[in-house]
């Protein structure tokens, strides 16, 4: 497997104006309707959590708002585990662009960037090196 940072890009033209989609992306009660329960606020630096519960399992995703450009761009970190254990932070970026009477909505989920490891300047046992050294094991996974 590749140990490069990977990303997922999804794009869809929706027959709704950017302002309306922006509300669905940034108002906590509305986000809960289609994504997950949350305590999101469209404020840069705001730390929040997505909460999910399904089939007897539940958990929290620890996040922080990075970018808020009304009706244009929204970005937040999307972590795993609790804040204290958050060793893997990825980033979700939403971009809205008017297209005809609707909007081209783009979501980019980037990362697999071990924030803490990176902060330590690529510590000896960082995630990237870890998976690379385990190539043989990973192939059998």
């Amino acid at each position: 497997m590749s140990t490069e940072t990977r990303s997922i890009v999804m794009e869809r033209v929706m027959p709704h104006p950017p302002e309306k989609i922006w509300r669905a992306l940034t108002q906590s009660a509305m986000i809960a309707e289609w994504l997950m329960e949350n305590d999101f606020k469209p404020v840069v630096g705001h730390k929040f959590q997505f909460h999910w519960a399904q089939g007897g399992y539940s958990g929290d995703v620890t996040c922080e708002v990075l970018t808020v450009e009304p009706a244009r761009k929204l970005a937040y970190t999307y972590g795993n585990g609790s804040a204290a254990e958050n060793t893997l932070a990825t980033t979700v970026t939403w971009t809205l662009e008017p297209e005809g009477a609707g909007t081209k909505l783009r979501m980019e989920h980037t990362g697999f960037t071990p924030a803490q490891e990176a902060a330590r300047g690529g510590a000896e046992f960082g995630w990237k090196g870890f998976l690379k050294r385990l190539d043989r094991v990973v192939e059998k996974a």
């Binding site: 309306k20 509305m30 289609w34 999910w52 539940s58 958990g59 989920h109 510590a123 050294r133």
Partner: protein, 112 residues
């Protein structure tokens, strides 16, 4: 398996391997094959009870398996335990595709 269940397992693997000592132990098992707790303690900077605790966490996350032989417990890696990491992109691709559908249905119900 549901997305939520996969999420749960994935978080567990991330959490478990988030600890550098555990990653190091896991790497040694991957490289050297089956090892006992005492063999793993030699060359490690932590005590045997600490090593045992880390191994228990790795076992709980499905990353290693153990086998008792006399008084010694032998540990080895379970390659399939890394699946949630390898399948990360695949997992989230499906997740976001579903969420785009959910968003679109929600927008259709929303007032303008």
């Amino acid at each position: 398996m549901t997305t939520a269940a996969q999420n749960q397992i994935q978080s567990e693997v991330f959490r478990t391997l988030g600890d550098p000592t555990r990653r190091k132990l896991f790497e040694r098992l991957a490289r050297e094959g089956e090892l006992t707790v005492s063999a793993l303690t030699v060359g490690s900077k932590v005590s045997q009870p600490a090593v045992s605790q880390h191994l228990a966490a790795l076992k709980l996350a499905g990353l290693v398996s153990d086998r008792r032989e006399g008084r010694a417990i032998h540990y080895s890696v379970k390659p399939e335990g890394l699946k949630p990491l390898v399948n990360w992109v695949e997992h989230y691709t499906q997740f976001w595709a579903d969420k785009f559908d959910d968003l679109e249905s929600f927008l259709n119900k929303m007032d303008n």
